[in-house]
């Protein structure tokens, strides 16, 4: 009985950790070149301790709003992947831009009004539920 319970609990833990939820279909979100103005920094993604992420992170001004673009992007899948702008590599002070739309392709994320962009030096792909960093891009001029 004890073995059965322990095995059951381990299976639940294993299943919950391995649950992958982000869609894998490649996205092709891009800003039309006519409105594309690079206003801040960009940087290439590096792998974090819990995943592999590659591609370029760039911040654009699109009309009145700022957007983070992930270009030629690819990431390992995970249970609860989010895109953050963060002051640190391990997010403590951050802006949550939302759920990672896809593990592949080009994608855009609106940056909420009120975010002081110069404060955030990293773009992160972060598993929120388990607080696991999958990848980060240092944003530089």
């Amino acid at each position: 009985m004890k073995t059965f319970v322990i095995t059951g609990l381990l299976m639940v833990v294993f299943i919950s950790c391995k649950k992958e939820s982000t869609i894998t279909q490649p996205l092709v979100e891009t800003i039309p070149p006519t409105v594309m103005v690079t206003v801040k920094d960009s940087g290439n993604f590096m792998n974090g301790p819990y995943g592999s992420v590659s591609g370029l992170a760039k911040i654009y001004k699109n009309g009145a709003k700022y957007q983070l673009a992930l270009e030629n992007f690819r990431s390992d899948n995970g249970p609860d992947l989010k895109v953050y702008l963060s002051k640190e590599i391990q997010p403590v002070n951050f802006v949550n831009l939302g759920s990672l739309k896809s593990t592949n392709g080009n994608q855009l994320y609106d940056i909420p009004a009120g975010a002081v962009l110069s404060d955030y030096k990293y773009a992160l792909v972060h598993c929120q539920q388990y607080n696991h960093l999958f990848g980060y891009a240092a944003l530089k001029t």
């Binding site: 939820s21 951050f94 949550n96 939302g98 759920s99 909420p112």
Partner: protein, 302 residues
Amino acid sequence: MKLLLTILLLFITITTINAQGCSDAGFCSLGVLKTKMDSAKHTISIGANYGAGEEGTSTINPYAEFSYHLNKSWAFQTKITATYANGFLGNKFNLGDVYGFAVYSPKLKGSNILSLLGGVKVPLTSANDKFNGKPLPLDYQSSIGTYDVIAGANYVINKKWELNAGLQVPVIQVNKNTFFPDEFTDARIASFTPTNNFRRKSDALVRVGYYINLPSSSITIKPNLLAIYHLGKDSYENRFGKRTEINNSDGLTLNGGLIITKKFRNNNRFEIVAATPFIVRDVRPDGLTRSAVINLQYSFNF
């Protein structure tokens, strides 16, 4: 039987006219907080309820309940729930919560019956189920991800009037929900509140019911009035990681309900519950609000 059907049809009509509903994290339908206990040594109940929620969201909640009388004074009850939710954001099925509680019934003079209940609710999910990669609001989640302590009392007076009182306090919150409405484009999403890392406040419950016995058909009808007070404002973590109170998420929900029970010769029971609210909280981020609830349950007593 004709009377039973008439009452049921009348109630279904009423419940579909009114809006918003029975709003608590499970204890209004829990054991003696719903109705007095059977006197059998063992009772196994299986049931399901159908609820109509926000913006056409519907939920089906199957559950199983087991009661065991240790002696005339003490009983133990446990319950496991699950939820299938369906709506314009998708559909989801998952296990919900497990309840375990003890019931103490002290010996009283006369025919009055008092039962005291104490127990816990343990969530089986962290309320972060998704559909097509997008986090779903709590309306679609099978649990709200809180470990709760539950205490309550049931008092039956002269076999006619029944009074319930209860308190449900979240003590450990493991809600990992990450829902933000602005990740969706459908206009109906405006009815949903952000619930990223949602934190819920306690509920208090008071119910008054009256038993109408129809001895010739072994049917009991219990109309009841249920008041649930949500004791504080719930909160979520905003885009900047700051905890934010949800205005108007506290306050009173007042429900009318009807419990119809048919007892069979073998001592088994079939129960129909219908409920609808008359007063609701302005904002109901926990997704527990239902415009109408119909519950069917069959109990095996042995």
